[in-house]
């Protein structure tokens, strides 16, 4: 017989050894050398899509032409693997010089000393619209520069509303209950498995809902709400489910892991959905329908009290270990302040925060992007304080909440237990980080 005891034991040990190796990984990446603002080698990383990759590569070439002393090596990535790669690169001490950063991770990196204080190297935000610089500040230090403005919106498919014979609601007066009721009616009238709205329950809408009650997701290094505060939120979600305003629990779970073009609004399976404003164009293109932008609802039915905010759709950061910090910041300055760059990238990363740049490129924007720019401008009176960046560990809020919500939607929990579990787990994530 082919196998004896000894060969076997070795095989088993080998397989076990592979298990232990799981957590001992490390990564590799680019390198850099010293230089001034106009010379140096820069590694530049971003996550994105085909459009963004093309435009960014074009802009990098344009910058290289104007600044022959700067050599940029691009490292494009995908959102799903981007953070693993960045973490291992940072651990291995060769993080890229210029980093496209997200609000969810900026304090994770900033608080741990991995990011450069951009204001020390001449970052220029003098032309930025009010409230757009603060999102990149952690405890007063400028770790990231707004790469484009975003705001939460509810997108509406006017064709489905017309088909159901229901008027598109007035977004200046609608409440969360109106939202539920209208969506429920739509589901009833449309039939064929089409629902009123995709699930609007996520971290951004929770933030909106809490702010309207004078709470926040996060306050200085901690949670800005208690379990009692979110009981109402979870109850609202169950009300949506009971009113058949949104899809089944299974369908919601599936949609959470689908790409934008498979989402129920795009495929015509839902008449409304929550989206960030910079996603409007992608949604319109994928759906072949022009969606209407609505303000998210308020508790009181007054848009002026809905506590809206501008979010940085993404930010530009630089590595604290960059060997050419001046050159890195110079590139970021060019990216956000020059019309040369804006003419190439337009509003793909969100509406430019620099008001002068926006004025120049606005006529060149697509119809959808122009309507977003107008929307962003119109909601200015409704803005409240910009929410602070999630503290380390706070980036898990979305995941923790979606677990609590699926427990509820599948009837495996009740609102009080779900709220407690949600807050407990989040608190422990914050303290462990």
């Amino acid at each position: 017989m082919g196998v004896n005891r000894r060969q076997f034991l070795i095989g088993g040990l080998g397989a076990m050894a592979a298990t232990a190796g799981l957590a001992g990984l490390s990564g590799c990446g680019g390198s850099s050398s010293s230089g001034s603002a106009t010379s140096g080698d820069l590694a530049f990383t971003w996550w994105g899509n085909d459009v963004r990759n093309k435009e960014t590569t074009e802009a990098i070439a344009a910058y290289g032409k104007a600044n022959p002393g700067v050599k940029i090596s691009p490292q494009p990535g995908e959102w799903a693997s981007y953070w693993d790669k960045l973490a291992t690169q940072t651990a291995a001490n060769n993080a890229p010089d210029v980093i496209q950063m997200d609000m969810a991770y900026i304090s994770e990196y900033g608080n741990r000393g991995a990011l450069l204080d951009l204001s020390k190297y001449g970052a220029d935000t003098s032309k930025f619209a009010a409230g757009t610089v603060d999102s990149g500040k952690i405890d007063g230090t400028l770790y990231g520069i707004n790469a484009g403005i975003n705001t939460p919106t509810i997108l509406v498919n006017p064709k489905l509303f017309a088909k159901a014979g229901i008027d598109v609601p007035d977004d200046k007066t609608w409440t969360w209950n109106d939202y539920k009721q209208i969506a429920g009616e739509l589901t009833g009238k449309l039939g064929n498995g089409i629902v009123g709205t995709a699930s609007p329950f996520n971290d951004a809408t929770l933030s909106a809902w809490l702010r309207q009650q004078g709470k926040e997701l996060f306050v200085d290094k901690g949670l800005g709400f208690t379990a009692t505060d979110v009981v109402g939120w979870f109850q609202l979600m169950l009300d949506f489910q009971n009113a058949k305003a949104m899809p089944s629990a299974s369908a919601i779970t599936e949609e959470a892991s689908q790409s934008l073009d498979q989402g129920s609004l795009v495929t015509g399976k839902a008449a409304m959905a929550y989206f960030w404003s910079n996603q409007v164009e992608a949604v319109n293109q994928a759906a072949g329908t022009e969606m209407k932008l609505l303000r998210y609802p308020s508790l009181a039915g007054k848009a002026a009290e809905r506590k809206a905010w501008y979010k940085a759709s993404m930010l530009w950061s630089a590595s604290s270990r960059s060997k050419s910090p001046e050159a890195a910041v110079a590139l970021i300055n060019w990216w956000v302040n020059s019309t040369d760059c804006a003419n190439i990238c337009l509003a793909e990363r969100g509406i430019p925060a620099n008001t002068e740049v926006l004025g120049t490129v606005k006529p060149k924007l697509s119809k959808a992007q122009q309507s977003v720019a107008t929307f962003i401008d119109e909601i200015k009176p409704e803005l409240a304080d910009t929410p602070i960046a999630p503290p380390p560990g706070g980036g898990t809020l979305g995941d923790v909440m979606s677990r609590a919500m699926s427990d509820l939607l599948f009837g495996r929990s009740n609102v009080n237990d779900a709220a407690k579990k949600f807050v407990d787990e989040l608190t422990s994530n914050l303290s462990a980080s």
Partner: protein
């Protein structure tokens, strides 16, 4: 070299003068050096790729390590925290259910197919390849994505059920009641590699045993239970141990099917998936390392139990 010739050479050595002995020792030293040289490629690989990272992860498991900052000594903190981590306990539950359901099912299926194929029929290699195909594909991302489509609320399975008048609206991977079952099914379906090993084992059982048994009037079932199973038991044992270890390390399917979340409601939160979430999602590499070592201990203990139990049922021919 057999033991007897070794002994005789020892005697000769003792008979030599000290000078000659030194010469021989020198020669042996040179032989050893050459041996290590030939071993070097494997040895370097073992040290750099296996032992090194293992020791590093053992060290990291006693630290607070965020990947971004240097590790900070934390003693047994990580291990203490594991006791009070409800998601860790959930992930252990999910993984144990997965291992103890999917491995026996998969081995049974692999054995059954192997016995069916072991008949010297025409086109055997073609059938063997076809049955092996899922194993080549099953671990891949593409198949996991495909399964997501097939078992979705609007997927193929539900469409077929509807043809038969069943009003199916359950998402087989998005409903916490069924999600793990679907992944177990995916694993069972990849029975190819144990099957090929079983086939090889079956081929080595001498035909004369069966002939003799047939002459004595043994039924087909008796021949299977009295000849095939005992002679195949080392192979079954081999497959069992390897599949158990492999199943504990399952990652890809759960990661892709649940999009890395282990959802819905943590029903597919495999141990390795949770380890990954802790290490790379939440930057708690120290905790992840401690989790990896707990897995090593669990797999080690189970393997030891397996070996102990094997004394009572595995029949070695050598």
């Amino acid at each position: 070299m057999s033991a007897i010739s070794e002994l005789s050479s020892l005697k000769i050595t003792r008979a030599r003068t000290p000078e000659e002995r030194r010469m021989r020792a020198k020669e042996a030293g040179r032989d050893n050096k050459a041996g290590y040289l030939f071993l070097a490629p494997w040895l370097v690989g073992l040290l750099v790729i296996t032992v090194g990272p293992m020791l590093a992860s053992l060290y990291l498991s006693f630290t607070d390590y965020s990947l971004i900052q240097a590790p900070r000594w934390a003693g047994l903190d990580n291990y203490a925290r594991m006791l009070e981590d409800p998601r860790l306990h959930q992930s252990l539950k999910v993984t144990f259910v997965y291992v103890f359901v999917s491995v026996p099912l998969q081995l049974l299926l692999a054995l059954a197919i192997a016995v069916l194929l072991d008949r010297g029929m025409r086109g055997l290699s073609l059938y063997r390849s076809i049955f092996y195909l899922p194993s080549m594909l099953g671990g891949s991302v593409a198949i996991a994505v495909l399964w997501r489509q097939i078992f979705g609320t609007e997927g193929l399975v539900n469409q077929i059920l509807r043809l038969f008048g069943v009003n199916a609206s359950t998402g087989w991977i998005s409903d916490p009641q069924y999600a793990l079952g679907t992944i177990i099914l995916l694993h069972v379906w990849t029975f190819g590699s144990p099957m090929v090993i079983f086939l090889a084992g079956l081929r080595q059982i001498p035909g004369m045993y069966y002939e003799a048994a047939a002459v004595d009037g043994a039924s087909r079932w008796t021949r299977f239970t009295r000849i095939t199973l005992p002679l195949l038991s080392p192979i079954i044992f081999f497959n069992l141990v390897l599949q158990i270890i492999g199943a504990f390390q399952s990652f890809t399917q759960a990661f892709v099917v649940s999009n890395g979340s282990g959802g819905p409601s943590d029903s597919t939160l495999f141990y390795t998936l949770y380890l990954y979430q802790r290490g790379f999602g939440q930057f708690q590499m120290g905790y992840a390392a401690a989790m990896a070592w707990l897995l090593v201990v669990i797999v080690g203990v189970l393997t030891a139990i397996n070996f102990f139990a094997s004394r009572y049922w595995v029949f070695y021919d050598d």
